[in-house]
Amino acid sequence: MSGPSRAPDGRENIRFTFDGKEYLARPGDTLAAALLANGVGLVARSFKYHRPRGIMAAGVEEPNALVTVGLGGRAEPNTRATDVFVHDGLIARSQNRWPSLSSDAGAVFGLAAKALPAGFYYKTFFGPAKLWLKYEALIRRAAGMGDAPTKADPDSFAQRSAFCDTLVVGSGPAGLQAALTAAEAGDSVILVEQDAALGGSLLVDPDPALGADWIAQTIARLRELGARILLRTTAAGYWDHNFVTLAERLAEPGAVPSHGFAQRLWHVRAGRVVLATGVIERPVPFTANDRPGVMLSRAVRAYVRRFGVVPGQRVVIATNNDDAYLTAQALREVGAEVVAILDARTQADVPAGFPVHFDARPVAAVGTLHHLTGVTALVGGRTVAFKADLLAVSGGFTPVVHLHSQAGGKLDWNEAAQAFVPGAIAQVCTSVGEVIAPLPAPAVVPAGSPKKSFVDFQNDVSLADIDLAWQEGYRSVEHMKRYTTLGMATDQGKLGNLVALQRVAQEQGVTVPQAGLTTFRPPYTPVTMGLLGGPGARNAGAHVRRIALHDRHDALGPTWQPAGYWFRPRAYPQPGETLGAAALREARAVRGAAGLCDVSTLGKFEVSGPDAAALLEIACATRVANLKPGRGRYTVMLREDGLLMDDGTVWRLGDNRYLLTSSTGGADRMAQHLSYIRQVLRPQMRVSVVNVQEHYAGLALAGPRSSGIIAALTGASAPAHMGVVAAVIAGVPVWVLAASYSGERAFEIHGEATAMGPVWDALLAAVKAAGGSTYGLDAMDLLRIEKGHVVIGAEADGRRGPYDLGLHKMLNPAGGFVGAAGLTRPALTAAGRHRLVGVEAIDGAPIAEGAMLVAREGAKVEGHVTAAGRHVLGEGGIALALLADGPDRLGAEFLATSPTRGMHTRVRVVSPHFYDPAGERYRD
């Protein structure tokens, strides 16, 4: 018998499938262990050459055994078989192969490997540019990894915070001891372990000095002291101020989580971080060092001792350090034959009883799809062949310094270990355990063919590719990385980067630190998009803001429109009615009778106190102090540079009490602006500014019959245009503001949001009785365009001042407002500025919103359409536009052209006030 195996012991009761074939696993098996136990050595195909790949490691550093786990939206591609614990019903599939894993047509690329060196596509597919899309499709199809699921993830993800005195990453002996010491000193402790079991290296190499029960006793003590222990949790990122992000698996990949949550992202702020992250064993470069049956030495030991799997019966071990002899011992314990130990060192004090060859290096491995059949080695300069089904390799140990480096820590070079170890660090962080003291392992000059000696297994980067990059002039390790794609796969070069750096240093004739090192960036291991905030993380996105009367509107069946975070009724279509038809019907109801609209989302601020008017005259660019009680005024607010920030209305509710409204989209900005004025510019003022945007729900009642409705419902005459009165409607105290955005006689009714239901009901009934209807945002837009009212974000687009929008005559001549100084800049009134105009279609055709205004096709752009509509009661397209020197060009004709919409309309420049320019309809 050859290849991996495991003798059954009766605990094989978990069923899983790989590529459709059913297997049995033991509790606690990783998928990799279970596959090896079932004799499966071939697990994957490589990225570029489709070479057969097996299982190389036993932890998250596994570069080869990437599989897709799970079905439908729960499928998780590119999952390391070494990082999935088998659960009953697990479905795993191999990737990047066709038609099957064992007979992969893509393997033909391996035959053409000489023609596909590093950077081949840069040299091959450089032109013509338009053909790149075809090249790209072919390349992506041929080279690739797992397919992203096309269905929505059915699971939920959670994000939570935690704070602790000490965060310990890694639960090997050093990590456990550090956690225990901290907890016993009274620290609040969080201990995280990416494995499903605590103990780290002790799970494989028990320490007699600690005793068999040390792990269990330590865990029990930690729990007793209140430490939080997180298993299956990876410290993925280490940020400033000891902020560490942890990715916790609440369910194994592909499994149905019992409580609906698949993963949890922890945001941990720690007083101190202890990194006990251990080391990763380095592979050894030689010909076909990527074949199934070539494994890392410690991984072999892990499969033997932790999972009871014997990865091979006849084993060659290649090493440059003492650790691999422990593997030889473990293999002998389970009856495997150690055929040879190839020790690259010329001498060492090693255990007796093994066939040790010093000054020995592997040259090549050969084998079947599932295991090796032989190993060729260079022993003291002679080529020697061994029959073996497994080659365990150890090229030394690379400390896991990722988190240390992410935290800004420096790295020191350990010459004896040929590895970087944690150095000085500014954050409160210490590294402990093997990560700071890797075993000595001298550099070894590889034997074998560089072309087939792989250093980055995931991206099929060989020593020859490194050599080629050097020959082609790539001197910086960062350039070499990008040219060869070394370390750019999902494993981020955990195994291969240092091997490659040794090669680069050798080429340059410098030391590894002189050759340089690429940057460690989060995450340490891949993190699913769902965890970070993809569509599956339904709670990770911003919420919808509901207006107070949401349910009442919803009962009328509106089409809802996102407006920032808000959802507002866009229109209330009747059965069979299009959105456009509904909007026009609603707008006509306003023009002809009455309409009712929800304007609760407007920004609203209550400003009170003896200095209220003075503060408002700083925030607003118009006069406020001369407003009489019971009166209001349209106003604009400017930025410091004199450009328009927002607009709204200001109302004097009482002697020292004002209500300022602003646009929906600008409400938060205005809140910040007013706070800045109040707290920073004028802290001495005797004034209170309170954001009452949500305290008041607002309803707009517009149309020629609106004043009659107000009079009927309040029992008093409606206030004159721009007047405000306190009133009671349906028993609810409200403010009635006579303001119009539609061009009709209109009112805003504001009252406490929790009480406004009856007010809505009363107004709606009255509106319907008057022959009117509700109206939504689309109708509101038709009405305001026809009236020539600007809107923040369209006409006031962040580049317009009052002069551009025809608002300069209303500015406070006394100045003193924010933006007054900025307004004096000559550029803001210079010739050629794009200023507000109206345009109407010469032939009555629709005008495209966003259309460019040009004299003729191909001519320079002189302006653009900001908002397009139509005459509400009449026919024909109309629009508001910004046009160079617009008001001076009334009567001029342009082409309003929108190539993206395929709309080209001849228009004439007119006044922006298409409807009732004298404002007669504001009066009863």
Partner: protein, 163 residues
Amino acid sequence: MTDVAITTLPPAPLHAFEIWSDPHGVAGRFAAAFGADLPALGTSVQAGGLTLIRYEPTVWLVEGDASTLAAVLGDDGALTAIGGGLVRVRLSGSGWRELLSYGGQFDAFAPTFAPGSSAATVIDHVGVRLWVENADSCVAYVPASFGAALVHFWHEMAALVRA
């Protein structure tokens, strides 16, 4: 088992109580009228049927019938109704602190966040104010427009707290 309950409370009178001048005088009048000091930042006081929570440097959130506070303020501040814009949600049970750990970066377990304390933070992108009612419950003051969504979020996270 860790338990947590989420209860949306009925609307209540809420006001912003802002002082713009003579803070010591106002504090003295408040103490005389209610027998308690105006609470400092991060704290609250319950007196005379009112709950006052320090809200901003010069502003307190007042829950209850605030009509008597007008006299306390005199010409040194303003009382502005804000109850229509806030939803009160009570989080109770042994898991309320853990529930508050979800969706934000807030140390709900800090010893300083004891009964009577208040805090302002962001939970799941929503700015909320928190008041620790007692050891077993906390009241969150949530912008009304976000109320339904945040309560939904808390109910979802409660499943994880209870697990």
